[in-house]
Subunit: 150 residues, 2 copies
Amino acid sequence: MKNNKSENQLLVREVFSKFLDSKSHRKTPERFAILNEIYDLDEHFDIEFLFSIMKKKNYRVSRATLYNTIELLLECHLVRKHQFGSNIAHYEKSYFDRQHDHLILTDTGEVIEFCDPRLHNIKKSIEEIFNVSIEKHSLYFYGKKIKNEN
Amino acid sequence: MKNNKSENQLLVREVFSKFLDSKSHRKTPERFAILNEIYDLDEHFDIEFLFSIMKKKNYRVSRATLYNTIELLLECHLVRKHQFGSNIAHYEKSYFDRQHDHLILTDTGEVIEFCDPRLHNIKKSIEEIFNVSIEKHSLYFYGKKIKNEN
DNA sequence: TTCATTGCAAAGCGTTTGCAGTCAC
DNA sequence: GTGACTGCAAACGCTTTGCAATGAA
């Protein structure tokens, strides 16, 4: 399991590299460093968090570059963006995950991922009814753990 | 249909009034004026838009009060809040509407409302699987109109 | 060499806060 | 009368922008 991670790092670097080529963007070390750090994380993160862990590792990196690079990573679907209610944008790596949705526990802030195939059927219906092509969806449930009182 | 609107205005004022009582909040004219303006709108709006239309109608109202009052209206479920991707919060009146979800056309910015009962089943399953009680959900589809080429 | 990209700092902008004046109770 | 509420302006915090320096092609 553990060495999947470094294999994956190689794979996503490759994907990003091809994307940058195709758009004639430069392959700067900063861009790949950021990609690496993101794929090293196992949780959702915001820009400030990413900035702080990269500073801690003595990278010379600016918030501006983080925002720019994340933008590119969104474009090539290596990262997903979330707006969990507040004004701070949250992100997560997305390449090896299946598309999934989120259950947010409002008391603890915990975020649980789930995937329900029935959502796909709803999507299909909406596409037919309104004659649209849906590129993306976002579904969040907000709730609380039920405590058993024994 | 038209005079439903003023009947509704009375009804929501009543609801808001009861809510303010129950929380020992004061019934200021500003709060009711804001409620009225919101229930006069038929679209989604943001604070800046609400501010501008109230200014245009010569209300003496501040953004601070708009934010404060909206907060109260959210609490008593007379208004719903949305975060359609960007950092600007959007709102809509919610008292007479059935709970519904949104399809956002990314090219035109148009927002279409829909309601699919199957979502309820998904919710039920998630509640059972994770042993949670879900208070709220948000579902957005993002897509584009399909053009017929005849 | 050239100009896309970078780091840094300043500016933007939606939202929140502080405060003196006001008015619902 | 009193303290919750208001308008105003300043502060906040995330994000974007401007710009001189840098380095990928």
